[in-house]
Symmetry: C2
Subunit: 153 residues, 2 copies
């Protein structure tokens, strides 16, 4: 569990980089053999790229590092429950385990709206742990949106 907390803290650091750019603060890291080989944070608005979610950026970096599209023996840590695109990418990359911080009631596809990570009909299923540093991950988002609303008056 201590290990999960440390890597989730690294994912939270990534989320804070998004926040500095006024992006919705979501961060992710990919871990392989006790080292972080992929990092990403939400950059959708800055890059005007619908694919620029934290998980996809971290997965791409990790696959470049391993020179493989199969991220075997990797773990992905992400502050927010993955959306359908990111859950699908996790399955495509054959990542064995995902650890996420807080649920996404609007688009979460790792147990909330549905569970694309544990769908028997796909050719890969993922072990899922949720709720690691849940409060901190959730607070990042609620504070961000509170500030945004205050700014917009």
């Amino acid at each position: 569990m201590q290990e999960h907390i440390e890597y989730m803290q690294a994912a939270i650091e990534e989320a804070r980089k998004a926040e500095e750019l006024l992006e919705v603060p979501i961060g992710a890291v990919v871990v392989w053999q006790n080292q972080i080989i992929g990092r990403g944070y939400n950059l959708r608005e800055s890059t005007l790229d619908p694919l620029a979610h934290a998980e996809l950026i971290a997965i791409k970096q990790a696959s470049e590092y391993l020179q493989a599209w199969r991220l075997l023996d990797c773990k992905l840590y992400v502050t927010l429950e993955p959306c359908p695109m990111c859950a699908g990418a996790i399955v495509q990359a054959r990542i064995p385990q995902v650890i996420y911080g807080t649920v996404d009631p609007k688009a979460g596809c790792a147990g909330t709206l549905m569970n694309l990570l544990q769908e028997d009909r796909f050719n890969h299923q993922v072990d899922v742990i949720s709720g690691v540093l849940q409060e901190e991950c959730s607070l990042l988002l609620t504070q961000f949106f509170r500030k945004l609303r205050a700014k917009r008056g």
Copy 2:
């Protein structure tokens, strides 16, 4: 319908580029105001990138062209029914209409295994047309896998 056939032919041309590289032949184009603004073909093995599906490549190109993450008024044509990752990306990019050639019984998430493009609980739903140049799109794949099996003896 004639328009759908022409753009699907363009997607098939993309798929043939994948085939030349011994990649599973899947191709996609994004159309906006009667012009193709994004093209992509499967490059997973060549690039060792789990995200290098035809649809994601075409979506990224289109969003660079429009300088927007919302691909409003765009249509995406793809030879094979989208997988969960690509279906999720289509929803993320807010693409209003998807036209695909043939179904994917193993991973199709636009009507076959499930329908992520028309999920009421997501914040975007997509109009879907299937079966355009179905036979040609399907033949591309079956012939590719037949050749592959023959080579592998």
